[in-house]
Amino acid sequence: MRFPAWRHLRMACQILCLLAFLWLFLQTEYRGSDTLRYPVSLLFRIDPLAALAAALAPGDFGWLLLWPALLLAALTALFGRFFCGWICPLGTTLDGVGKLVGRGRLSPRPAWRRIKYYLLVAMTAAALFGVQLFGLLDPLSIFLRSLTFSFNPAFNLVANSLFDFFYRHPVPLVSPLVNGSYDFFRDHLLAFHPPAYELALPTLAIFLGILLLERVERRFWCKNLCPLGALLGLCSRRSLVTRAPAKVCDDCRRCLSECRSGAVTETTHRKDECLLCFDCSGFCPANRVVFTLGLRPTAAGRVDLTRRGLVTSLAAGALVAPVAGSAPNLWNRDPYLLRPPGSLAETEFLRRCIRCGECMKVCIGGALHPALLQAGLSGFYTPLLVPRIGYCEYNCTLCGQVCPTGAIGLLNLAEKQKAVIGIAVFDQDRCLPFARGEECLVCEEHCPTGEKAIVFVEKEVWVGSEMRRLKVPRLIKSRCVGCGICETRCPLEGASAIRVINEGESRRARDPWA
């Protein structure tokens, strides 16, 4: 088939995939059933970079979760980097918004495309030596984090403010219309609880930065920086899809400037760079370009990394990781570093978590939030449980259901209810019954364990010259799972007078010498 059919087919596929991923994003929420109906984190289960991270982490690989990623790698080996050209939502966004941003033709040095391989090599070396950085630059993680932390909260904020305004101020004609459409928005597009994340702005900045790189060069990110592109490029070097002519033609040379991925060069057609967008078969003035599927793969061009570059990136990764790992454990010193229930022990968790943000999107209580530096330098964007903002719902197992790499284990309800996130401790200087001799006990009311972990004792205390009979809360350690509802609901202003600390969390490796 020739242009424009393939090109249009490709564009249709891009748009459909993008819409499908957006739809899955909207489904990443509790919708009346304890088990999510759709594989909402599909984007990461087909992500070979996530699979690489999981493979290099300690513990089992997680075949059940990540076999689709291996399938994608295999398909890429057969057919080339079709994922980048046809499916990747970030690539589609760049293709779609590129025109708006303005596409530059600064044609940076062709050698820059090697950067992505060096990044991949460095990150792989780092992962081998104990520090996983794939998640930071995984394009799919970047895409979903931008949606989760920036665009979705902003959309909800704007939409809710508009609905609020027209609800409170009846404007003729407009208000009935807006109010009438509220139910549809509420049921299908708006989040049940308005989402809010502290890293909204930095996340947006990263996304916009990648977008602005289009001004330098079309698909700058994909061509020069994307580590997933590099991984898929390595897979596709001997793909069965072959392009003819196999290099730029002497009488035209248009491919040199037009190819969005710089795959056609003076000497070869680089399979590891070609995104299979099929544009060239359209714009070729002589209609020479033909893609054929042949069982005998032709020799691919060399990736031609420089030896010095390769060694440097390997060394960088291999050096940075142990140096970073040699720092004293942060999680062991910061009592407020809480992880979702079922999380792996911290070191393995950091190596397995792909920073996709799915758990933070799905969390029914809005309890999970991205870390900036709270979990150390390499913990950027990993999920933290912040009970003052939201608590872990006792009967909910959604975060484990969406985690694509198994960093948060899939627990059944009974297991989840036994998974200890931490333990609640009272701040007796502020807690009302302790500090001021006033009644309260909101924490006890909300405590969800069958036999309450927070109980109370009745005491007679002197408050000034008055003797009061008071119910004073107490914590029973063996019952507390650290869900944090007490901290969320504590009615004091500002910080809660009961806080969850990570003491005794289930995931902690017990020190055999202790």
């Binding site: 509790y30 919708r31 009346g32 609905f163 609020d164 609800y167 409170r168 049940f192 029914i364 209580g365 719902e393 006792y394 009967n395 909910c396 009302l432 006033e438 009644e439 309260c440 006990l441 909101v442 006890e444 009311e445 909300h446 405590c447 969800p448 364990t449 069958g450 036999e451 309450k452 109370f456 119910k471 609901r489 504590c490 009615p491």
Partner: protein
């Protein structure tokens, strides 16, 4: 509704007639349907019934008070407010029994209610509570266009002054609960830490906004305050099974006792007072109930003469 004697009835009728004729064709408020007030409340009946068949039990209990038609008139809007506070199943007894909710709504429909709305500001995630309690399914199962179960609309809270408020002088209330012609209060009887028991008066916390935990600092007077704003036309306490410990959230079947009992009255204090006795408490031991009586929301009187 208060029972009126003949003399009172005639007097009121004359008043209505006089005002009607004075104002002519202007549509009038129905003076007779003004909520029962403290002075009249003493004579209000209290119905307690037992039975295993919940729809029949609801019918019997309401029947003892003269049927739902006494409380809900044709064409009126009704709010039915069960306790849907917790992500707990029916057997765990932390929420009002869905069959009670459903039967009460059916009686409202039969009485000719134009519109019945069901909602609660929950403690756990609202979606989970609505589903897990079985109440959403039960209400939607009625398949009536006049009945709607809905989540709280965050736009619809209003700050109001509380006249004669003792602990709270101003608080945020859920407007749809105040706008309805009739408010039917359907609490489930449960153990509760700070207030010993949670019954009808505490169930009103489900239609207020704001930082509700604040009320715990003076729970009895606070509840009396908000109950002076949100008036329950009828309180029907679900004691088909009661939670005797680890309330109000519960979770252990060992703490649930099946009593197959319903208590109904237009007097919220009387209904709560009777419910307290099911737990072995004297009504005046429960500070919220005592405060309700002291503040004129109803009467603690459980004498045989009051029982319907």
């Amino acid at each position: 509704m208060a029972r009126m004697d003949r003399r009172e009835f005639v007097r009121r009728s004359l008043q209505v007639a006089a005002v009607s004729s004075a104002v002519g064709g202007v549509p009038l408020l129905d003076l007779l349907s003004f909520p029962a007030r403290a002075a009249e409340v003493g004579g209000v009946k209290l119905a307690v019934r037992k039975g295993k068949d919940i729809p029949a039990l609801v019918g019997e209990t309401l029947g003892a008070l003269g049927g739902m038609a006494i409380f809900v008139k044709r064409g009126e809007t009704v709010v039915v407010k069960p306790n849907i506070g917790w992500d707990r199943t029916v057997e765990q007894g932390a929420n009002t029994h869905p069959l009670v909710v459903r039967a009460v709504i059916e009686h409202c429909l039969e009485a000719g209610a134009k519109d019945v709305r069901v909602f609660d500001r929950t403690c756990n995630d609202p979606r989970r509570c609505y589903v897990q309690s079985g109440i959403q399914e039960a209400v939607e199962g009625l398949k009536s266009e006049r009945v709607k179960i809905e989540h709280m609309d965050r736009r619809a809270y209003r700050e109001l002054d509380i006249a004669n408020g003792k602990d709270l002088t101003r608080w945020s209330f859920y407007q749809p609960a105040l706008d309805a012609d009739r408010f039917i209060n359907l609490p489930v009887a449960k153990h509760h830490g700070i207030s010993t028991l949670t019954l009808g008066m505490k169930n009103i916390m489900g239609v207020i906004g704001g930082n509700r935990g604040r009320l715990h600092q003076n729970i009895a007077e606070s509840l009396a305050d908000i109950n002076s704003v949100v008036h329950s036309t009828l309180t029907l306490v679900d004691a088909t099974r009661i939670l005797t410990a680890n309330g109000p959230q519960g979770g252990r079947l060992e703490d649930v006792r099946v009593l197959d009992t319903l208590i109904a009255s237009a007097d919220i204090v009387a209904a709560d007072a009777y419910a307290a006795t099911l737990f072995g408490h004297r009504p005046e031991e429960i500070a919220t109930v005592a405060a309700g009586a002291r503040r004129g929301l109803g009467s603690l009187d459980l004498s045989p003469g009051r029982m319907a």
